[in-house]
């Protein structure tokens, strides 16, 4: 936030700056200084208590607008994906902890212990292989597939939940002028079939796009096409997500 911000006046973050602190106008360094100061200054401490609720009330003055539903889809796709990854990592750490603990067992027990670990590790590995989509969401309904992306730095994930399929992308470059990205479905042995899903990412390269009627498809593809989309791919495949 601070790169383009003008340098504060000397002495900012001192006595009497509760209002600008609460409004978020102080640099982090000066905010910290002010917080430290307010701990021992009755005037500023009182100001914080008195003015804080006024600042917190300001958003209520804004006309209420419904948040777009696709924003939720994007956020929850990332959340589900990260929750799944965290559970996996936690599970792996658990196995490692057990492994380390068992290696410390007295040598007479080691053979049995290692056999047990072998079974345990095997179970985890088989579990991993048998659930290629990552074992579901926190609610057990979502599947997430990491897609192959031919664009440097970009990434894409395919999500399935409750019969819906959608693609999220990150750090995608903007399509060329007069072009959009188009989503295709490819069934085994068939040619790519166009969908209605055309998209352009936001300024940060993010997008969430529906993948309609994906059931039975082997792959979801993305290409860059002239605005309005194409009936057949005219550009190279940029993203491939394997469904089966």
């Amino acid at each position: 936030m601070s790169e383009e911000r003008e340098r504060p006046l000397p002495g900012e973050g001192g006595c009497g700056d509760a209002a600008i602190y609460l409004l978020g106008l102080l640099e982090e360094e000066h905010s910290r200084a002010f917080v430290e100061h307010a701990r021992t200054c009755a005037l500023c401490s009182d100001d914080l208590a008195a003015l804080g609720p006024a600042v917190d009330s300001l958003p209520a003055a804004v006309p209420q607008v419904s948040a777009p539903t696709h924003a939720k889809r994007h956020v929850m796709a990332v959340v589900r994906s990260e929750a799944t990854q965290a559970r996996r990592a936690s599970s792996r750490r658990g196995v490692q902890r057990r492994w380390v603990g068992l290696r410390r067992l007295p040598s007479r027990r080691s053979t049995l212990a290692l056999a047990g670990v072998g079974l345990l590790a095997g179970g985890v590995a088989v579990g991993g292989l048998s659930t290629p989509f990552g074992g579901g969401s926190a609610g057990g309904a979502a599947r997430v597939v990491s897609a192959d992306v031919a664009l440097p730095g970009a990434s894409a994930m395919l999500h399935e939940s409750r019969g819906d399929t959608w693609l999220t992308v990150a750090k995608m470059p903007e399509p060329a002028a007069g072009h959009v990205y188009e989503v295709w479905l490819k069934r085994p042995g068939g040619a790519p079939q166009p969908t209605d899903s055309l998209f352009a990412p936001t300024a940060s390269g993010a997008a969430t796009v529906n993948v309609p009627a994906a059931r039975g498809a082997g792959e979801v593809l993305v290409t860059q096409e002239p605005a309005g989309g194409s009936r057949r791919p005219t550009g190279p495949v940029l993203i491939v997500a394997h469904l089966a």
Binding site: S66, K72, V79, E82, A83, A86, S137, G139
Partner: protein, 179 residues
């Protein structure tokens, strides 16, 4: 929030559903563009998901905490220059949300609250409400505002403090009238 802290996606979804409209409304008011507001909304909620453990109940409600995060992200967007050219605070395209049957009670409370705060803001002297709007909704620093209004920075700071103090009193009065 305790469940969110443990990485519970379902708990996070409940938090999202409960606060996303207020969050989006604030981002939209500040950024003035739907696309930017959507980015701010998404960035803010993902930050919230990743830092859920930092919520401190003693410092206020979950909603206030979320809106502070949204506000910070919107200021970041403004300062990144995403919508730098937008210099007029406006509400173009903002549509009052239509109450859903499932949250009518909550929406009624929101409307009453909005009415109180707008009334309190309107009751402030123009020079005080102006600096508060420029700072809070416009993302301008007090130094930028001072330069814009050709005032000493100390005067701007003073107007902000006075404005907030009066806002607090005006809201307390409105609440009293409402009861």
């Amino acid at each position: 929030m305790g469940l969110v802290r443990t990485g519970d996606g379902d708990a996070f979804e409940i938090i999202y559903d409960r606060h996303c409209d207020a969050a989006f409304s604030l981002a939209y008011r500040m950024c003035g563009r739907r696309a930017t507001a959507e980015e701010v909304l998404q960035e803010a909620f993902l930050a919230l998901w990743r830092t859920g453990g930092r919520y401190d109940r003693s410092r206020g409600s979950v909603r206030n905490w979320i809106l502070r995060i949204v506000h910070n992200h919107a200021v970041d967007a403004l300062r990144r220059g995403v919508v730098r050219e937008r210099r007029l605070l406006h509400e173009e395209g903002a549509v009052e949300r239509v109450a859903g049957s499932e949250d009518t009670a909550e929406w009624t409370l929101d409307r009453e609250r909005a009415h109180e705060v707008r009334g309190a803001l309107e009751s402030l002297p123009k020079e005080q409400s102006r600096v508060l709007e420029l700072a809070y909704f416009g993302g301008f620093t007090h130094i930028e505002i001072a330069s814009m209004l050709q005032l000493p920075a100390g005067t701007v700071k003073g107007r902000m403090r006075l404005g907030l103090a009066k806002l607090r009193i005006a809201m307390a009065t409105e609440e009293g009238i409402g009861r």
